[in-house]
Amino acid sequence: MAISHLTHPQPSGRDSVAGAGVRFHVAQPADVSALHAWYRHCQALPFFTEIAGPTPTFTRSQFRQYCAQDAQLMVGADEQGLCAFILLTYIQGDMHVANVDFRWREGCPEPDSPRAKAFAAALRQLCLRASVTKTHLLSLPLEEDRLQFAHWLGYVHEGVLARHFFHAGRCHDLQCLGRHEDDGVERA
């Protein structure tokens, strides 16, 4: 099991991005525990949005494993604690492709705001760190602020997976978005 970046952090210039009162950094074990606590709160929207899983009842060790296996995790913290995360999963090194998932505790910031720009810089850092040049994002259509934020980040619509994701009692459609890292440069 590859959990190198969680158990053996390797500090470098790529490990953190700060701006507008929020600092994004590569997750440490304590951050994963805090994120798991956030995950366990009952929420109207799914914490993770991906088609192959994961279960909504992960234990902490399962959660930690999910965030580490072929994955890279960055968390954002402000004066009130953990406020956002960016997770790259299913990183395919040879293809330089990965799925991306992100969430803000209090909803996505306004496009072009300082917090949004800090997030864009952090996402770019994480992609560089993972050697990923294309990322895929899935989102529920009802997550309008997340979609708007994703479009601002440079994600373009690639299709809709009909009735593909079960959450809160029914199957939802999923919006597929994709971004080449070159397209997101100017946001960071």
């Binding site: 909504p56 040879d94 299709g159 994701f165 079960f166 199957c171 597929c176």
Partner: protein, 207 residues
């Protein structure tokens, strides 16, 4: 994760109905590893099916892990379609999500039979497996845009839901990848009727 379905295409004639009736579906066994290895171990097949070329050992490792797989516990499984006592197709069902009741499918047809009507039987059996045996709601496949034969066949019963632009392939450069899907109700409307003599999906009239 990106993979594709590769099946041959041919307008279905009346013989296909007879062949559908005698095709059987079974779990993959150790003895099938060598057979399927033989199908996969050529450049043309791999160019259509895989993100990148697999070595002989990598093919073996991929197939060996499917022998004895339990779809419920392992969320994947390997299955073989037989016709007349001979393996004609391989179905790899993976990333089964038992909450959303979806699964990704890889289809492979014996290269010797690629242009025969039997290719469609493998697709029909994939539907039977997913919807009649495992009670999934939806299956989907990732198909490279250059794999036009497969797309032509799959679009008769499946729908293209998304196109991932310029997915990276080390072997052939950037290439779009289509996500095609089949719902249980569409399977019932189309593929199960393949058992009826004279039914041809691509010629059906809108009601």
């Amino acid at each position: 994760m990106i993979c594709s379905a590769w099946v041959g295409t041919k307008t279905m004639g009346s013989n296909v109905h007879r062949k559908l009736a005698v095709c059987t579906l079974r779990s993959m066994e150790q003895a099938d590893v060598a057979t399927i290895h033989g199908w996969m171990n050529n450049e043309e097949m791999q160019a259509k099916l895989e993100d990148q070329a697999l070595s002989s050992d990598e093919i073996d490792a991929k197939l060996e892990q499917l022998v004895g797989c339990d779809p419920l516990a392992d969320k994947q499984g390997g299955f073989v379609v037989d016709y007349d006592g001979r393996a004609i197709g391989f179905i790899h069902l993976m990333w089964i999500n038992w909450i959303s009741r979806t699964g990704e499918v890889d289809l492979m047809v014996n290269p010797e039979l690629l242009r025969s009507m039997l290719a469609f039987n493998v697709l029909q059996k994939a539907g039977e497996l997913a919807f009649e045996q495992l009670n999934l709601n939806k299956i989907y496949a990732y198909v490279f845009a250059s794999n036009k034969d497969s797309i032509g066949l799959l679009k008769r019963v499946m729908r293209v839901e998304a196109t991932q632009k310029a997915g990276r392939r080390p072997a052939t450069g950037d290439e779009d990848v289509h996500v095609v899907s089949l719902f249980a109700e569409d399977y019932v409307k189309t593929l199960t009727r393949m058992r009826w003599p004279g039914y041809v999906p691509h010629k059906r009239k809108a009601q």
